[in-house]
Symmetry: C2
């Protein structure tokens, strides 16, 4: 967690990222958020216009963190595209497994969770999640492109394939969460390969 002692604004954002992931939007109260961040509520509303405003900002912050901690290292490597996708599966499984071990909770995708919860409730949050989904797909599409160039998969509409690989990720994460069983996510590699070549 590390807490990044710098600044109330940043600490608030940081706390929000963790709390929204663990407790969802509607399950997180501004009071609790402030308590965990060691801040009084007045300060909260000095930096953010509303709870929804913070959530939208937290989505962007979470993606910035995820991108540099997960996506950039994997997709910036010189491995083949399909190998990169398999490493992504392993890395996500590792993260989910860590949460399951430390807190007993399979949290699933922080973006997917908020997206499903808020898509029909708050337009700004919906758009933030949609943007982050698109960035996920961009990375996957680039990997498919690379795999195509290496003749690992046949040519075709890589953008569409990437979307469906991502759908497989999200769906499997949901199933694993509902079943509290990491195996349901862990075992998608073969299907990812199939969709990538479809």
């Amino acid at each position: 967690m590390a807490d990044a002692e710098r600044g109330t604004h940043e600490r608030l954002l940081n706390t929000a990222v963790h709390l929204l992931w663990e407790r969802s939007y509607q399950g997180t109260s501004v009071d609790e958020l402030c308590r965990k961040a060691g801040i009084r509520k007045g300060s909260f509303y000095h930096f953010f216009r509303s709870k929804a405003d913070l959530a939208a900002a937290a989505i962007d912050a979470a993606w910035r963190h995820t991108e540099q901690a997960v996506f950039a290292p994997i997709f910036g490597s010189d491995e083949g595209g399909m190998a990169q996708l398999e490493r992504l599966i392993d890395r996500v499984d590792e993260i989910q497994g860590a949460n399951l071990k430390s807190r007993g909770l399979y949290l699933g995708c922080p973006f997917g969770n908020l997206g499903q919860e808020m898509a029909n409730v708050d337009e700004a949050i919906r758009q933030a999640v949609q943007r982050v989904f698109a960035r996920h797909c961009d990375y996957i599409e680039a990997a498919l492109q690379r795999a195509g160039e290496d003749r690992d998969i046949p040519p075709g509409d890589m953008h569409r394939r990437a979307e469906q690989v991502f759908a497989l990720f999200e769906g499997a994460l949901l199933m694993a969460k509902v079943a509290k069983d990491p195996a349901l996510f862990r075992g998608i590699a073969a299907s990812v390969r199939a969709v990538a070549a479809a």
Copy 2:
């Protein structure tokens, strides 16, 4: 909606099924639920021990309805397994499209929504969703079995394939919901075929 004038218990359950789908668990208050069902709150707590208790019962009720309105007709037909899966895609798209047209909301999967929202909050609800997920997979697996017997797909672990076809459904529904774009679900047929044969 039809309202099935029979009995307070049933009307409550019916209202819950619709309201939980449209507004989620935490977004639905007992007060509003009672108002829409034309019932006083005391009656609510005569039939259900808690809001979570009603939700769990509503999940079962919703599945009973979905099974007979969607799954039984499609998977009871004498079509081939793969054709059945394509008909399921069309039918789900039709239902989601109807909601989008009438209420402007892409609601997604009523079971997946509740599962993601409540898996780490209420154990009874988590289990109810898990059971319903399994029933979905049973139907898909039977279709794959049938497709295997027809030599439409190669032999293999149909149970695992069914889970991943289902994951693809759930993930694509989520993406369509977040993007408010039915096309993201509608276009999964090719990937479903690929996963079915993986």
